[in-house]
């Protein structure tokens, strides 16, 4: 019997899965940027989670397991919808942004940006990031998964995960700094 997986207790498993409904939906929404698609994605994720419940190893991270299903489902759906275009697009943006130096000197201190950035602006800037970067920074900085967990969820090496997080964080900061700077000038505040 050694090495055999113990099936989860059905009632406890179902309750634990349902407890992650809110974060799953928030993540699906940032991923799809569309409420209807996010709903479908969450529901599809739960259908698969319950169908393959026996494959979940008790005692391991259920949240990470659910997020892996969610990202795989989204990836397959995107692949079905538009073969190749997503991957090519993400890779091109990844390359382009790694060679660009971003806006020139920005003197806005981080604290001012942090204080003055509205949640809605941050959300919009996040939605504007290329998908690969958006996924990576969301999973790392909002959901606080480890690099290894994210690598497994997205099916990419840890080095790629770190590079996407890095590009995502810097792009986000640079775009917000730029728009913050121009808004201040445009509005003539202070």
């Amino acid at each position: 019997m050694l090495g055999r997986r113990q099936p989860p207790d059905p009632d406890a498993f179902a309750a634990e899965v349902l407890a992650f409904l809110d974060p799953l939906y928030a993540t699906a929404l940032r991923l799809t940027r569309n409420r209807a698609d996010a709903q479908d994605l969450v529901q599809d994720t739960l259908v698969k989670a319950f169908r393959f419940a026996d494959r979940f190893e008790r005692g391991t991270n259920l949240k990470a397991w659910l997020y892996t299903i969610l990202h795989n489902t989204w990836r397959n759906r995107r692949r079905d919808a538009a073969r190749d275009t997503v991957e090519v697009d993400s890779e091109r943006v990844e390359e382009a942004s790694s060679t660009s130096s971003g806006p020139a000197e920005i003197d806005t201190p981080e604290q001012i940006l942090l204080r003055d950035t509205l949640d809605a602006d941050l959300q919009a800037a996040l939605d504007d990031l290329p998908e690969a970067f958006r996924q990576a920074v969301w999973l790392r900085d909002v959901e606080e998964f480890t690099y290894a967990e994210i690598a497994q969820m997205l099916g990419v090496p840890i080095g790629t995960v770190m590079s996407r997080i890095s590009r995502g964080r810097r792009l986000l900061y640079e775009r917000l700094s730029a728009s913050h700077g121009s808004a201040r000038v445009g509005a003539g505040r202070r």
Partner: protein, 254 residues
């Protein structure tokens, strides 16, 4: 980019996350002290990280859309019901008498489970009906051509289904078709407006269910089968319009 800058740049993420071994951390810090461009990159990395982390609770705060929790809870109930289903093999092992008892019990359980699964199915489809009409149908949605809808379902999802067309003389207008998720997978969801009322037609391929009529959450569902397909119609209208629409659809899909 200089080699030392490239090496530093690669490590700015674990540096910001405080995930570098002490020796590497010290090396990065030495480089940053001496290199303003890398210092600026590190500040941007740290800035993006801090923004996201300080606002993470706000970013995560998204209200669940109406109906999503209900549908997910229905999925959970189906899963637990399947897992708790009694094993008839264990009963058989106890002897002939016990075997009969188990068989009778299993028969009863099956009929209850079927009825219950009709209820679960109707509840899921009712929630989907409400969601789809709220999100995808406009008051002035134009009527669609059935052949176009059939083509769409074939091209998008690989479904080869017969979609009953609009019947203006009966006040029936075909306004859309989508993919619907339910406990066992996906199926076509065809949307109609019948004399101004929203009516959904769902088609479960490879499933036969006895005819049933259920009411729940103020909506009525009619279930029937033709060949190897089960049809479910859902509407808020329980009157003559739904009956007429159901008869019309039954006739067209034969």
């Amino acid at each position: 980019m200089k080699e030392s800058c490239r090496r530093t740049d690669e490590r700015l993420t674990p540096y910001a996350d405080d995930a570098l071994p002490a020796a590497e951390r010290a090396e990065v810090e030495r480089h940053l002290t001496a290199c303003p461009p890398c210092r600026r990159e590190a500040a941007h990395e740290e800035g993006g990280r801090t923004l996201l982390r300080e606002r993470s609770s706000h970013l995560k705060c998204e209200a669940l859309p109406p109906g999503l929790r209900t549908r997910c809870e229905a999925l959970a109930r189906q899963y637990t019901a399947r897992r708790h289903a009694p094993s008839w093999r264990a009963g058989l092992a106890r002897g002939v008498v016990a075997a009969f008892a188990v068989l009778i019990a299993a028969g009863l359980a099956l009929s209850v489970a079927t009825r219950r699964s009709d209820t679960v199915l109707a509840a899921q489809l009712t929630a989907d009906h409400v969601k789809c009409f709220r999100i995808f149908a406009k008051d002035n949605s134009p009527g669609l051509d059935a052949a176009d809808v059939e083509q769409h379902l074939r091209d998008e999802y690989g479904w080869d289904v017969r979609v009953p067309p609009s019947a203006p003389e009966q006040g029936i207008q075909l306004i859309g078709a989508r993919r619907c998720l339910y406990g066992e997978g996906t199926m076509p969801h065809v949307m109609y407006r019948v004399n101004g009322k929203n009516v959904s037609l769902y088609m479960l391929d490879g499933v036969r269910r006895p005819p049933a009529e259920l009411t729940g959450l103020g909506y009525r569902s009619r279930i029937w089968s033709r060949g190897a397909t089960t049809y479910v119609m859902v509407s808020s209208d329980s009157g003559a319009d739904l009956v007429r629409a159901a008869q019309y659809v039954m006739q067209k899909v034969q």
